[in-house]
Amino acid sequence: MSARDVILARVRAAVEGVPEVQIPRAYRGPAPASEGLVDLLAERVRHYKAAVHVVEEAGVAALVAASLAERGARRLVVPEGFPEPWLPSGGFERIGDEPRLSASDLDTVDGILTTCAVAVAETGTIVLDAGAGQGRRALTLLPDYHLCVVRRDQIVANVPDAVDRLDPARPLTWISGPSATSDIELNRVEGVHGPRTLEVVVVTSA
């Protein structure tokens, strides 16, 4: 018998006669969108020591320009599908991922601009699904600075909402604040292997 058959036979023998189990789902499921989500998301993301801005659609490009200037970020990866109106008109070098940048190339850029798929207010999480304006997973990993623009209609209340909206067939990255570790005396310290600076821009009128 193959290892597969042996393991499956062991499992069947082990659970024979064990009664079936029903799953109670009394916990909070997806909730309707409510007014306070933008504020809650902003508060929860800030708690992870990430910068958060809330702006009208018309103000995005100016805000991005100011943020880049403040960080001294000049060479930036802009993934395919990132909305053009959100980009500053100048002041930075725009780098595309077509053809694919090598890991060492990515390691030398100053930062990355992306959109997201979903944002979870209760946990202060943004989720990327490699869709338009987000690019493949390594793009938001190697550069030290990540600026993510979130539209208000992408914000959901809680985790069940987010799971409901996402497509498991896509590679997903859930991001809650900058890279951090709790490995030294169990205290959270920001800044290990992923981007050490995370900046989130919430667009209210989009």
């Binding site: 659970v15 189990v21 979870v120 997973r137 985790v159 997903l172 890279s179 169990l186 290990v192 292997h193």
Partner: protein
């Protein structure tokens, strides 16, 4: 520090300490180490407070806990169905699925996969399963170097040390010890520690970033575990903090994930429960910094999944003990345990320390050794572990059951047999009670011989002059 496979009945094997010391002997040594006790008290105290605060924030925590427990029980009940479903889904998405009956088979599969790539170096994401099977040692024997990339695992690897906690393997080290390990040993494994490194946690994190950066960019094979596997979609999930996980899962050309068969959940939707239970229970955060989810071969990567039994089906066959397979490795039970907080993880002699380790280790590798027989006693049965467990594993009950199954000393067995004989017949009990009542003044405060150990810390109950039954019969229920 030398490592070895402990002798196991059957084919199950698991990494453990060399030596035959029992838990009490190990713990007695550990509690004399005041630095260790200070480090543990500080770290577990911090994390307990944070967990309590973020768990208290969710109004539906008890409901999530009940759902988590039931999802895992349902999965275990139908594990064969869901394993086959997972295999189909992963294969359909371009991944390759391998099955390993035991540690040796899993190690051979992984070694062959690495050799097939022609590489001699792999990067690793922290994984309990690969620690359990001693994968790094098996790879080393075949000329392949495994680099641990999680900060705590790195500290353990550089210090040639042994993990002492499920989530934070270097919890027994404080910042200045970590700094010394970095300064002394980083150069043996790659880029040396920065000059004039301080023990500021941020500086230590930066040192780890620099040390591993080039390794991430150049290594072509990665090995991971997984927190969850979704049968319905074939999706694997890894929760982490630092980004080392994302580096390993994303950059290398080949990814090999070694996962215990009990890590399954049936549906995509089930993740909505565990993504709330796990981060809040483990690091005490609303959400951990990074969670990666991938299905099959992703973004051009070659993907292999190795499904590991290594004793799990044996645990599954036990009606009471199988609940240990619900464990999602959050380590909340370690952080609240008064025994763990004082003894530390090394005393348990297993990669699975603490309360969950005390029920998992003896079930996985059997109770053949003195150490494994002593583990169910590594508890005061206070029940704090059960209370914080996000999947409601009744650890105290399993501990008591395992105590009953372990072989007891001759004197204890003789005593119990005698007690059983006396209690068997009411007449025998009455005669014994009358004899006890007459001789009660002769019973010493401290019992003789080995029994003295018991009375050293306890008062012997006073023996009454007369038994309740005798009193009742003599006074007709107190009316005479």
């Amino acid at each position: 520090m030398s490592r070895t496979f402990l002798g196991m009945p059957g084919t199950v094997s698991m990494m453990g300490y060399t030596g035959k010391e029992t838990f009490p002997e190990n713990a007695a040594k550990a509690v004399r180490n005041s630095q260790l006790r200070f480090n543990l008290r500080k770290a577990t105290g911090t994390i307990r407070g944070r967990r309590a605060s973020v768990v208290g924030e969710l109004p539906d925590w008890p409901d999530l806990r009940q759902a988590g427990k039931a999802i895992k029980d349902h999965t275990l009940r139908n594990l064969d169905t869901y394993l086959v479903r997972l295999e189909e889904a992963v294969t359909k998405a371009g991944g390759h699925v391998h099955w390993a009956r035991d540690a040796a088979e899993a190690n051979r599969i992984v070694t062959d996969l690495v050799k097939a790539t022609g590489e001699t170096q792999v990067v690793k994401v922290k994984s309990m399963a690969t620690q359990e099977i001693g994968l790094n040692e098996a790879l080393h024997a075949e000329g392949i170097t495994a680099y641990e990339t999680d900060l705590a695992e790195l500290i353990v690897q550089l210090g040639d040390d042994w993990p002492s906690h499920i989530l934070v393997p270097a919890i027994h080290r404080n910042r200045s010890e970590i700094r010394d390990i970095f300064v002394r040993h980083m150069s043996e494994w790659g880029r040396p520690a920065p000059e004039r490194l301080t023990d500021d946690p941020a500086a230590l994190a930066e040192a780890a970033r620099l040390h591993l950066r080039e390794r991430f960019l150049s290594t072509k094979v990665a090995i991971s575990g997984a927190n969850f596997m979704v049968a319905e979609t074939g999706t694997l999930v890894v929760l982490e903090s630092e980004g080392n996980g994302r580096m390993c899962l994303t950059l290398p050309e080949t990814l090999i994930s070694v996962v215990g068969i009990e890590k399954l959940v049936p549906t995509w939707r089930d993740l909505e429960v565990f993504l709330q239970l796990l981060p809040r229970s483990s690091t005490g955060e609303r959400m951990n910094p990074y969670t990666s989810m991938w299905t099959g071969a992703t973004e051009g990567q070659e993907f292999h999944l190795v499904l590991l039994d290594n004793g799990r089906t044996g645990v599954l066959a036990d009606d009471l003990g199988r609940q240990a397979l619900r464990c999602i490795r959050c380590s909340a039970c370690l952080n609240v345990c008064p025994v763990y907080e004082r003894s530390g993880g090394h005393a348990y002699g297993s990669v699975y320390p603490g309360p969950i380790g005390a029920i998992l280790t003896p079930q996985l590798r059997g109770m053949g050794s003195e150490l494994d027989r002593s583990l169910p006693y590594a508890s005061s049965l206070c029940g704090a572990c059960y209370e914080v467990c996000p999947v409601a594993i009744d650890i105290p009950s399993v501990l008591v059951e395992l105590r009953g199954r372990s072989r007891h000393p001759v004197a204890e067995r003789a005593g119990m047999a005698a007690a059983g004989w006396v209690f068997e017949r009411p007449g025998r009990l009455a005669r014994a009670q009358r004899m006890g009542g007459r001789m009660r003044r002769l019973v010493p405060k401290r019992l003789p011989g080995p029994l003295g150990g018991w009375t050293d810390t306890r008062d012997l109950p006073a023996i009454p002059r007369e038994s309740f039954r005798d009193w009742w019969n003599r006074t007709d229920g107190g009316s005479r």
